[in-house]
Amino acid sequence: METAIQTTEPKKNYLNAEYGVMSWLLTTDHKRIALLYLGSITAFFFLGGFFAMLIRLELLTPAGDLVLSDTYNKLFTMHGVVMIFLFLIPSVPAVFGNFLVPMMIGAKDLAFPKLNLASWYIFIIGAGFILYAIVTGGLDTGWTFYTPYSTTYSNSNVVAAALGVFITGFSSIFTGLNIMVTVHRMRAPGLTWRRLPLFIWAHYATSVIMVLGTPVLAITIVLVALERLFHFGIFDARLGGDPLLFQHLFWFYSHPAVYIMILPTMGVMSEVIACFSRKRPFGYDFIAMSSVAIAVLGFLVWAHHMYVAGISTYAAMIFSLLTFFVAIPSAVKVFNWTATLYKGSITFETPMLYAFAFIGLFTIGGLTGVFLGAVGIDLHVTDTYFVVAHFHYVMVGGAVTGFMCALHFWWPKMTGKMYPEAFAKLSAVLVFVGFNLTFFPQFLLGYMGMPRRYHAYPPEFQVLNVLSTAGASILAVGFLMPMIYFAWSLRYGKDAGPNPYNAAGLEWQTSSPPTTFNFEETPVVTSEAYNYDEIDGTTQKGVEVAG
């Protein structure tokens, strides 16, 4: 009788270890903090998506009839600010990095658990300032805060929004610092650097950018606020300052920042593709080092955002060349993932569908980035929808797809429940189709000369714009569906068990959901990551060995 009672009691894990709101708001458990982030950034994702839908509805017809031009300026600005600073930058590092980095290296927590919780609060306070700016009149500078418009002419809430961006920056700095220190000092016995999962390498490289780049944005934003409040003149040509200097400082952070958004999802790809091909990733060292190379080279290309802003031709040529260089490590990754697929035992679970989408969409986004890095082409398509399409192929096709991939792959680990596979596959297909329908026409529009950031356009652009808006609607359905089936799975989903995909990696060795301290006892690592041939046993392996 006693044993019967024991079996009906659920196993202790990090979710049911404590109950009540305070047990979440004061937690220092990296897994609970990850869920706090997941909840907040999901809300911001749908807020940013709401602004995007209003933009697409306005562009359904050539006339600027749905919203005023001022309102339109605010819509695309708030879409950008919310999506970049409140969703994309924290998305994978603060949710999955937080949840998985300690588990993947066999640690009980991140190096600084209290700092980790503080990062979330800092993020929420910063987000509060941005939301305050949005509800009290909005922001219309574009997400880039270009001077002198932001410091002198804009009548919107620049200071509140700038303060919000400044504050969320510190959340990102502390997350990066925490991850870096954790990887250096908290690895389990036997887990050498070359045995680390590639997800860890990607997050390490991302953290380097967060730690080195974000402080520069912080001080730049402070100077913008000081200039707006006290007319300091540092970026104001009328007062002897130089607006180009602002652009240099801004892009010194904000170009590497796009790698903050894409690099972690590249780490996700390396895990997922290895798992569903049942193979060690081809060229482990190259994938790991390409992450580091992207982090380093990413700091040397910023002025390719400024070809038409008045930099010298010579500087433009140098930055163009450096931009081409950064394509090399990105290409190394894509080629190595495809080489991993070669002769793999591929299965098509939902995360793998997202991974395939990522490879294709990121390749298009990355290659059009090389087009834009070439000065001649950039002069032709700068400030057109070509740039918008390129950016969204990397940021939605790459980063958001990667985020969805990670969410599906590790959802069973985070919650202990399986989501309904058929619905998940359907939504993955909808996202892929909707995404391409939304953004591919924008490449064409941009090439034909439709400028970005206008709320009206000539009638001959309408067909492509209607296609784009139709695609956005499909995309919205594709993103809303997971909300429903993930929520459904929490209650009705099948129990996942510790390792539903038979995946390699320390995080799969413990129960789902894991206990508060992740492992019953500190694991000892004796082999490389991705030992799929060991996991699958010799019977499956026999064929290959014989061949």
């Binding site: 640690a107 009980k108 927590d109 190096a111 600084f112 658990p113 700095i173 610092l177 925490n178 870096m180 220190v181 250096h184 000092r185 908290m186 730690v211 080195l212 780049g213 974000t214 402080p215 520069v216 912080a218 001080i219 730049t220 402070v222 100077l223 000081l226 409040l229 006290f230 007319h231 300091f232 003149g233 540092i234 007062l239 002897g240 300052g241 130089d242 200097l245 400082l249 010194f252 301290f517 500190t522």
Partner: protein
Amino acid sequence: MPDSEIAVQHNLKHHFADLEQQRETSTFGMWLFLVTEIMFFGGMFATYLIYRLSYYNAWVAGSQTMEIQLGAINTAVLICSSLTMVLAVHFAKLGNRKLTTLCLILTLVLGLSFLGIKGVEYHGHWVHHEVPGLNFHFEHEGNYDPRQVMIFFSLYFAMTGMHAVHMIIGAGLLTWLLIANGRGRFTPEYNTPVEMVGLYWHFVDLVWIYLFPLLYLISHHHNG
């Protein structure tokens, strides 16, 4: 149970294997934080450098309005405070509570003196109409645009102001250390917070060591 084991049990956080790992982790984290601080100030130093190269004459004119004596005294004050800080770390490691407290108090007093002298200087700038945006009027003589001198002062206030904010945070940290040390929190086995604040304090001092010549001593020898 020996004292050292009690200290270990009391101070070891759950996710570390031993105090050694915990200390190394904290130190590494602090150094990394200081790297972010270098980048933070680096943005302003880069801005300074660009404008100084472009507007050299205005920079000289702005620099020559500075109170060099006050700046030099402040430099000496900060160097002394670095000495007392490092002594505080030393005595904390030896487990000498009284001398640790004394050195922390000295550091705090020197830090507050710096802020006081800086306040006197800021007051002087206000009186001489050298505060950009709020109260600025510069007598123009020589081959430069007076607006360029305003940018010099903008950067002067941004850089020294940001440095002063760091000093104020440092003073807060020292106060916290004094309270913790008074309660006997630190032992020869566990004194990481003293060491961490020490690193921070030295960094903030070091920033001033660069600010002083860059802002006060430009082309000073021409002036005799």
